[in-house]
């Protein structure tokens, strides 16, 4: 058997966290802990790069599969990647070290515990993306709640308790039905192994209910309208690094779940419920874009824009077209980079002025020019300007949507305009205009670590905006096989 590369990806952050446990905070700082955490996550990132390089792009079958008996005669611990999941692992491994660097300025107390929470979170998230057994998937999916609850609750803003509870209970409520569905699948098909379930298929008469049970979990996590209300609260109260993790990776677990499980396991039901998803997605795109326009809090605005972007993602997935699904995956990746960067941008000014309100800023372009340039880049990427990463996904999703349902695509296109409106307006109010406050003059531009993080995010945003080919090469075969399998299933019924 080969070297268990996926398991080591999952385990390495936990090992790092164990090391951290033996360090001690001194005066609110803990260099050793930071270096250990950074080291673990960077090594993890390098391993995931290696994973991507040695990944065979010509096949859609699962690679690097590991299987071990876990609960005898019942569940096997099984992990593996295909073209759909590998990029999410890469994204997770890329974002986490940046989070740890960003901790430099933001987290003042219990630094060590914070880093431990982030590392454990990373390993759970990677676990979600490579789990090939429903129970293992559920385990990682739910376990992530614990560190995130603590990150929001301990290091969050003034309303952190309310937000942490809302986040936890909302997502838990969504997920318990999925647990019922997973156990039912075990009794219906005799296995929870995803690969075997792909081959066996699930009896048509159960598919609708099971699909709904999975949907209840993923819809909350995505989040889709009308169960999105936990997200703005959680984002606003979470510390910057927490927001970044939440926006960049946690939200992607649901999108990934839709593709892997909803489409893969329940093709007939997916067909049946497409109108439902379309409706909710379109409402999410238009409705939350309007809400975003009204926001006075920068983090809240970006949180609502996340809901709108995820609306595009769900729309793209359920077009069941090659372009749509590829677009959704690309959109998730770009949103992962861009929203992370935007939250970091908000974090930068928040650290200096301790306000997230849009009206307390204005005219800062001459005071902190470097920041303004980078913020501009990410704003443009968020609204989907051609040449940035944000454009590729949105464009493909709309293309897929036009093929499938003209009306939905037209309405969704308005979302693009609205997105431009709220992002540009945000940028205009914060960066341009008159100087609203004399204190703003004291702001200093990006320091070294902030500069480093934002540049790290800016490079792939631009690079993949111009040249998304490597990503498409990775996902293409897997997606087209998924669609072929789907069409076969539909045709055979």
């Amino acid at each position: 058997m080969d070297f268990p590369i996926l398991s080591s990806l999952i385990l390495l952050p936990i090992v790092g966290a164990l090391f951290l446990f033996f360090t001690k905070d001194k005066d609110g700082n803990n260099l050793t802990a930071k270096y250990v955490a950074l080291f673990a996550t960077i090594v993890n990132f390098l391993i995931s790069i290696y994973l991507w390089i040695s990944f065979d792009q010509t096949t859609s079958s699962f690679q690097f599969v590991e299987e071990r008996v876990w609960i005898k005669d019942f569940i096997n611990y099984k992990v593996g990647v295909d073209g759909i999941s590998i990029l999410f692992i890469l994204l997770t491994a890329f974002i986490t070290p940046l989070c740890i660097v960003s901790v430099n300025n933001t987290v003042k107390n219990r630094l060590r515990d914070f880093l431990i929470a982030i590392l454990i979170m990373e390993s759970f998230m990677i676990g979600v993306f490579c789990a090939l057994d429903l129970v293992v998937f559920y385990l990682f999916f739910e376990a992530g709640l614990i560190p995130m609850f603590l990150i929001i609750g301990i290091w969050g803003g003034p309303k952190r308790v309310y937000s942490a509870f809302k986040f936890f209970l909302y997502t838990l409520l969504g997920s318990v039905l999925m647990l019922v569905a997973i156990i039912s699948i075990y009794w219906i098909s005799g296995t929870t192994d995803v690969i075997k379930l792909y081959e066996l298929g699930i009896d048509a008469k159960y598919q609708n209910l099971l699909w709904l049970a999975f949907f209840s979990s993923f819809a909350v996590k995505t989040p889709m309208w009308p169960v999105h209300t936990w997200l703005p609260d959680a984002h606003v109260e979470a510390p910057t690094a927490g927001s970044v993790l939440l926006a960049a990776i946690l939200l992607k677990m649901a999108g990934y779940g839709f593709i892997r499980f909803s489409l893969g396991l329940f093709p007939l039901a997916s067909e049946v419920f497409t109108p439902l998803v379309y409706t909710l997605s379109v409402i999410a795109i238009i409705f939350t874009s309007f809400i975003a326009l009204m926001q006075e809090d920068m983090k809240k605005l970006i949180a609502y824009s996340s809901v709108a972007h995820m609306g595009f993602v769900t729309l793209g997935i359920f077009t069941l077209q090659q372009q749509g699904i590829e677009g959704s995956i690309i959109q998730m990746l770009s949103h992962g980079l861009v929203s992370a960067a935007l939250f970091l941008c908000v974090g930068v000014v928040y650290d200096r002025m301790h306000s997230r309100l849009i009206k307390s800023y204005g005219g800062i372009v001459t005071i902190i020019p470097k920041y303004s340039i980078l913020f501009m880049l990410f704003t443009l990427a968020a609204l989907g300007l051609p040449g940035t990463f944000g454009f590729v996904g949105e464009f493909l999703i709309l293309m897929g949507a036009f093929k499938d349902n003209f009306l939905v695509a037209v309405i969704a296109s308005f979302g693009v305009i609205l997105g431009a409106a709220y992002m540009l307006w945000l940028y205009k109010r914060v960066v341009f205009g008159k100087l609203v406050n004399e204190d703003l003059k004291k702001m200093v531009d990006l320091n070294r670590s902030e500069y480093l993080i934002l540049i790290c995010l800016a490079v792939p945003t631009l690079f993949f905006g111009f040249y998304p080919e490597p990503l498409f090469n990775t996902i293409e075969v897997s997606v087209s096989d998924l669609i072929n399998m789907h069409n076969l299933n539909i045709a055979s019924k």
């Binding site: 876990w70 609850f149 308790v161 409520l173 318990v176």
Partner: protein, 472 residues
């Protein structure tokens, strides 16, 4: 008298109880000695049980009134280990209240003896004898801190209500005897051909009595008061050990004599289960005292255990046993933490006393965090697997309603566990607590927390042991 060796543990414990009683009376200042000897007694009983009965599949003794099978030996071992740890933890607590007396270990031993008889009983008479032996010892234990009003009140309440339930139980027994002509479980099972309403009444009466003992809703009223009033170590004993015995009797009673009447009792168990899960979750939200909260949470957990029983399959029985075993470990851990909240010989048991605990006692808070998330059933901790097995068995029987209600009530229950975590981690700190704890407390806390945390690595072992229990 063949196979007398199978009841050696019981015989040994009863002889030890008598010996210790005499020793305690005639030798002055013998509290510590009795205490240590009781620990040794339990240890020997554990070894005897493992040695003599663990490999036995099913043998009946004493005119088939006592049965030794896989379930009996496993449950006895869990009971004994539980009693051993509780007794070990108790000493420092009792000493600080100046109630470190010879009676305490002896009462624990005799109640354990009662439970072991209950667990092995295959006859209504033997069952009732065991039940009364353990109950009488428990009444006294509840009032053990007799200088405190609350403790006496708890004991009296427990006595009155428990006596009432015993009465109902006896009435049920007499009805069953009247209609089947025997008190032996196997004979009753063979006699049950007709669907007599009176027999159903008998079952219902006995179920009510048993539901009382495990504090399932709507027969739970005594639990919060008794749990709050009793000395903390006794509360720990209440939440762990008698429940194991009562659950075993529950299983044996439902599945040996009355398996054929499953249509009659299944609805009752489902009702008890749903009511306990929902009530336990909702009533715990408003509590301010940790012991009261644990009472309600234990009501909820009994609901999940009953859900496994309601499924009417071997898988269900096994999942219930797994559930109660994991629950016992979690409870032990929780109470070990509670007993560590001590400052200048005073114990604190309000939830607010936990405020900001994480600042001064990071390790203790971390253990509490793990324990509480496990009690809430969040993966990958042991509590999740307990629930997972139960619902797996429930869904196998297509009882979706029960499964969905149960899982939704875990969400409600998660709220109050989260509230405690919030108080520990998010709130302002208070004064430091003592950090010099006895070796027993430290051991039981570390041991149980590690078990909870790392259970997911080796989940098969427990299942393998439990899967040898085949009742139907």
């Amino acid at each position: 008298m063949n196979n007398l060796n199978l009841v050696f543990p019981e015989i040994f414990i009863s002889l030890s109880v008598m010996f210790l009683l005499i020793l305690g009376v005639f030798k002055k200042d013998s509290s510590q000695l009795t205490f240590n000897l009781s620990l040794v007694t339990i240890l020997v009983a554990i070894i005897l049980t493992v040695n003599e009965t663990f490999s036995v599949n099913r043998i009946t003794l004493f005119n088939e009134s006592i049965v030794i099978d896989q379930m009996a030996s496993l449950m006895k071992i869990i009971t004994l280990i539980g009693a051993f740890l509780v007794l070990g933890i108790s000493s420092s607590y009792l000493k600080s209240f100046k109630i470190f007396k010879i009676e305490y270990p002896i009462l624990i031993l005799s109640s354990v003896l009662g439970m072991m008889i209950m667990i092995s009983s295959n006859d209504l008479m033997a069952f009732y004898m065991g039940l009364e032996l353990q109950s009488l010892a428990l009444y006294v234990l509840a009032t053990f801190n007799r200088d405190q009003l609350k403790s006496s009140e708890a004991g009296l309440k427990y006595f009155v209500l428990s006596a009432l339930s015993s009465g109902l139980l006896l009435y049920g027994c007499s009805l069953i005897y009247g209609f089947s002509g025997s008190t032996n479980f196997d004979v009753i099972a063979n006699q049950l051909t007709s669907n007599d309403y009176a027999l159903t009444f008998g079952i219902v009466f006995i179920l009510v009595g048993l539901a009382f003992k495990i504090s399932a809703v709507p027969f739970h009223m005594w639990a919060p008061d008794v749990y709050e009033g009793s000395p903390t170590t006794v509360t720990l004993f209440f939440t762990m050990v008698p429940k194991i015995a009562a659950l075993t009797v529950f299983i044996r009673f439902l599945y040996v004599p009355f398996l054929n009447l499953i249509d009659q009792w299944q609805m009752i168990i489902v009702f008890l289960s749903i009511a306990s899960m929902i009530f336990g979750a909702i009533a715990a939200i408003g509590q301010t005292n940790i012991k009261r909260l644990v009472a309600y949470s234990s009501i909820g957990h009994i609901g999940y255990t009953l859900a496994g029983l309601a499924s009417g399959s071997n898988d269900g029985i096994q999942s219930s046993i797994i559930y109660i075993s994991i629950y016992v470990v979690m409870n032990l851990a929780l109470f070990s933490c509670l007993l560590m909240l001590k400052r200048n010989d005073q114990y604190y048991e309000d939830i607010d006393d936990l405020s900001g605990l994480s600042k001064n006692h990071p390790l203790l808070s971390l253990s509490l965090l793990i324990i509480l998330f496990s009690l809430a059933g969040i993966p990958p901790l042991a509590g999740f697997f307990a629930k997972f097995y139960v619902f797996k068995a429930v869904i196998e029987q297509s009882m979706y309603f029960l499964a969905i209600v149960g899982l939704l009530s875990t969400v409600i229950a998660a709220f109050y566990y989260l509230r405690i975590i919030k108080i520990i981690y998010f709130d302002k700190e208070k004064e430091k607590y003592d950090s010099d704890h006895g070796i027993w407390l430290k051991f039981s806390l570390t041991f149980s927390t590690i078990l909870i945390l790392l259970y997911f690595i080796f989940p098969s072992q427990l299942i393998e042991v439990v899967s040898r229990i085949i009742i139907i």
